[in-house]
Symmetry: C2
Subunit: 477 residues, 2 copies
Amino acid sequence: MSSIPVQIPAYIDANAKAFVDRLARAVAIPSISGDVNNRKDVFAMADFLEGELVKLGVSVKRAKLGKQVLDGVELELPDAILGTLGSDKAKKTILLYGHFDVQPALKSDGWDTEPFVLTEDPATGRLIGRGSSDDKGPVLGWLNAIEAYQKSNVEIPVNIKFCFEGMEESGSEGLDELIEAEAKAGGYFHGVDAVCISDNYWLNTRTPALTYGLRGISYYKITIAGPARDLHSGVFGRTVHEPMTDLITLMSKLVTPSGDILVPGVEDLVAPLTEQEKARYVSLDYSVSDVEHSAGAKVALSDDKATVLMGRMRYPSLSLHGIEGAFSAPGAKTVIPAKVSGKFSIRLVPDQTPALVDPLVIAYLKSEFAKLNTKNTLSIENLHGGKPWVADPDHWNYEAAKRATKAVYGRAPDLTREGGSIPVTLTFAESLGVNVLLLPMGRGDDGAHSTNEKLDKSNFLQGSKLLGTYLWEVAKS
Amino acid sequence: MSSIPVQIPAYIDANAKAFVDRLARAVAIPSISGDVNNRKDVFAMADFLEGELVKLGVSVKRAKLGKQVLDGVELELPDAILGTLGSDKAKKTILLYGHFDVQPALKSDGWDTEPFVLTEDPATGRLIGRGSSDDKGPVLGWLNAIEAYQKSNVEIPVNIKFCFEGMEESGSEGLDELIEAEAKAGGYFHGVDAVCISDNYWLNTRTPALTYGLRGISYYKITIAGPARDLHSGVFGRTVHEPMTDLITLMSKLVTPSGDILVPGVEDLVAPLTEQEKARYVSLDYSVSDVEHSAGAKVALSDDKATVLMGRMRYPSLSLHGIEGAFSAPGAKTVIPAKVSGKFSIRLVPDQTPALVDPLVIAYLKSEFAKLNTKNTLSIENLHGGKPWVADPDHWNYEAAKRATKAVYGRAPDLTREGGSIPVTLTFAESLGVNVLLLPMGRGDDGAHSTNEKLDKSNFLQGSKLLGTYLWEVAKS
């Protein structure tokens, strides 16, 4: 079969400056979805994106998502931008998802440059600015690719549906309901053949990646209460059951310092490891020292690369996040806190789900608490949960992305799973019943939610070619 | 031997209004030693007190204590007010200690009345205001008693030395050095025969008490550090050694939910319980339900009164206060904290001292930490420490106070030990080598550091008689 016509990647190289300028215009709009004062900017960013899509001939539909209350203020949720380009029944239809809102950023947080001024570092080729990599770069990457097809007079070989949202950094409020409604017969997304999301990162700074799995999560808050008010340890020490002693004892029963989860049955739910899957981790372009470089210290749980990578990608983890209600300030306070809440979460992998894991956790906590023989009380809350997601990495959607990666980067991509969650992935997979591909543009060191977020210019341009080539290859599948 | 002349207590009853008015004038001066903005008020309170002492013929010496830095501001420490009344070599010399500074208080903290306006509740007879009970009431109680002697034309049967400080609520800065210096030959306090401190509380609301013991303390901060920065649990969960897991495991090895200290050797240092001492706890006017009433819930460690009281008074306790550096806010944050510090303290009793206990704690923590097999690091700090103090409750100083209590209240006092610390007690005992008596004026529910601090009017008046009668009785010993 034919390769993508060379004029398409050539157009992207030739128009690099215009594309970077457009990214700079997008970054200049501080579309922070989590800040009441920036809600107008999220709407402005939706307008900007709609305008760019319309220029490309995309038929745009703005979807209202209702209202929310943020910091005590009732706000209109940002519209989702839906779009259609092409409706040829002979072609596949691919749904592209991205988001146009960003995390907060202030120069005073520690940025070296103004966060909402896209700044190119000539020494490194980095395009530095809030949203450059997460996710305005990838969203505009799709537009770059489509423009390259059109200006090169090459017919786009697939129909495209767009779903761009403005609330991803604030829990994607309202989006699940929209996707589920539009996935039904007669809905906007009904009949799509596959989904592609460009909103994550390479494993490292060297090797392109396709991502086929995400861990789920179950987040718990366990509260132990007793005295009616905080007590003085001089007066009450060794006269009453202290909630902190009970809580620390209980939390110590959850996970070992080497990471093993002690809640009976939880590890048993993990799908067995096959030789074929194990081989994928062994082959990834990653090392234990990469992990330790990211963490900033030599604290990896193992010296074996596959073990460390599987700990992140295919095994569950239990992390103790902290305690609410205890003394947490600097200094020395002799308080017996009256009511303390421990926070911990379990990252879930197939075949674990919150529905299967939660009862095991609750039963175990109750049983261990009973052993304490305390007069204090225990309550357990589940603060949020989400199922893990794994796709078939040999599906034609992935095979197309592998060929596209090979064509643009001259090498096979790493096939990765991520330890975190992108909940919309699961919503697309379950609502539409089709394969979902995560096709990242940026590198592992982009610092998506940190200071000095960046997208390497080469990733922006090669990534735009990658997205365009993926559209070419997926049509051939 | 003769009893105190009846005109002395009669004078106190007859002048109740004037004494309450004087207390109101003292309370009106917001002498908060911990607030930079109130330092001038602490000095104003020193002036007020000096003026009242001079009216009684006391020879006053103001002792400069140097400077401190508070909230970044260099401040003059409040002068200590030293005083002498009488120098008859045929009489005993008693040193009286009190303090004229107070804890902070704002009406918005939850006070029902203005905290610096002494307000008498006619229904209960409570005198409500900051410092009413801690410690302006008792300090003025001494002045009331002396005035009663003088206006009744009765010679005070002892020489008196005064030591009133203005930094007690802020660590008594500078005072230890002053006491140690003035205790030496030729010093202001040299040659005193006994000390009496009125700055604590009855065990309950019914029975007067003498206090002959205080627990010491050793306060620890244990820090576990690993990653260079906080990590995301999705990305790093089960790839690195998590400091919180190590810390919670370590903290769980310190104390059981029933209060037993697990650090080997620490409990072994406790002086054996004699039958005679046990009998004192059994006889105290206190019940398990009193403890549970104070704590606001049925959470006592035992149903046996003596066990609960001994837990507070004569056994050590280990309390886990909290964790610095972990997630302590409301909500659900999926952080792996990079560096976390656990805070805990041990209340010490004879024959424990920080010097004996600290090495046991440090060795145990290091040994338990080694068992974790973690790549994170442990550091241990001792934030502060103080020895326990116990006096002989059958000493003539105590016998005098017992007779005085019987004379004023018609009953024997509870002989108590307290679970907290009043460090100056130990300084007096060790520097002067004499018996120290704690002779409380207020009740167990006065709420010294809380909102709505109060002193019952009857405790103020009967307490003034008690202090006067103590001076009478101690002369006879």
